[in-house]
Subunit: 247 residues, 2 copies
Amino acid sequence: MANTEQKINFKSLKASCQNCSLVELCLPRGLDNTDLTSLDEVIKQRKIVHKGETIFRQGERSGCVFAVRSGSVKTFTTAKNGEEQVLGFHLPGELLGLDGLDNEIHSCAGVALNTTTICELPINDLNVLCVKIPGLQQQLLSLISNEITKDHTMLMLLARRNAEQKLATFLINLSGRYKARGYSAAEFDLTMSRYDIGNYLGLADETVSRLISKFKENNIINAARKSISIIDHEKLCSIAEGDMSLN
Amino acid sequence: MANTEQKINFKSLKASCQNCSLVELCLPRGLDNTDLTSLDEVIKQRKIVHKGETIFRQGERSGCVFAVRSGSVKTFTTAKNGEEQVLGFHLPGELLGLDGLDNEIHSCAGVALNTTTICELPINDLNVLCVKIPGLQQQLLSLISNEITKDHTMLMLLARRNAEQKLATFLINLSGRYKARGYSAAEFDLTMSRYDIGNYLGLADETVSRLISKFKENNIINAARKSISIIDHEKLCSIAEGDMSLN
DNA sequence: CGGCTGCTTGAAATGAGTCAACATAGGTGG
DNA sequence: CCACCTATGTTGACTCATTTCAAGCAGCCG
């Protein structure tokens, strides 16, 4: 398909899909440069998606997995009655669309929350590569397996935690993910609306708003609209764990 | 590893792991008898597990996926503070432990709810087979992908539905799964406790109890302890969908 | 500049949780 | 085989966290 003569090293691969977790996950497990070249060929050219635009639709077979290069994305399912459930938010370096890894239709949709750059990874090409690179198959299973573990954490959060704990956990989680990708853990933007946060956490958006205000009053965070800074990470953790409650 | 001379046809395979969904899923996709023979070799001898006994532990690497042959199993995670969250119930013919398909540690535990027969499918053997049988790899991805979709449905249920809808959905779901495996859709036993149901659905067990009573009063179901019969499936669906509410 | 969308805040309503007492089944041991 | 004991399930009364309804506010985009 592509020119396999052109050997690409890790640096150029990383440049072609910066912070792409698939690539990063593969690296420490002993894939060599040839493998990486092949992998690089699989990553289609980046695509720019604007706020509110759809990356893949529910019920559609995109044939791809996606990696966020910049910007952010929400995934959600739509029920028969039209109700939406936000399933997750995806930051730079993170993957989405793994529910289509079996090359069947997506059970959720992905929409950009702001101007976003996306790398597409065609699944058929990945499958071909999997035969050539035994470790890659394992990586894919690991990725999708982690996805299940994440969902299980979310089930616990939704079923067992109160509103304060949910929001605190959400903020800590975002903070950690930004940090893992080299951004500030203390200051970042909430690219999603209060409504989306509430929907994701199983709360009314008014409740989210109220809690943010309460966290502000208690000098745990500072917030103005989209912009968030975490002042007291430790207290936020205590709230998330249920070891502490406000008022 | 095993004697590949001994050709086993579908019938004997099915007998060896009755209603095993992995086998069933593979069949319609064109695996031939030789493939099935190999698959059969992978399925370790059945194991009997008694009520309350553990099939695999959280944090343990079992190296297996499991299929329920008879009985039933619950899976759950335990949080740092010791709190448990039930993640699912597994009926005859269903798989569990897919979170270990990447051959890493399980992020949840599986415990028998009553006397249960289990088939073990060692992942390493499956991986070897995947090289021999291209379709199998696809099947595994499909299975795990369905698992993600199921979790997403559950997230929607926990986040957006009230107690009545949750319990109605739960009962309809169980009914459908029993039916799919050839059991009665209208009459079955709840092998799990009210506490487990409540934990799974994010409700107090008293709430579950009250709702069962309410459904009984309205002649939608009949129930005595573990035994359940669905009288008015249609109404139950209406409640689940939120088109109808009691009192 | 004006209108729109998203956010904030207040007050009232309510669904589900908590606490507590009681009922029943099933298992155990005398 | 009966009597007791413990688990689990049921029901009631009360509480409270969160939702709902409603009104006002502030950025932002055309």
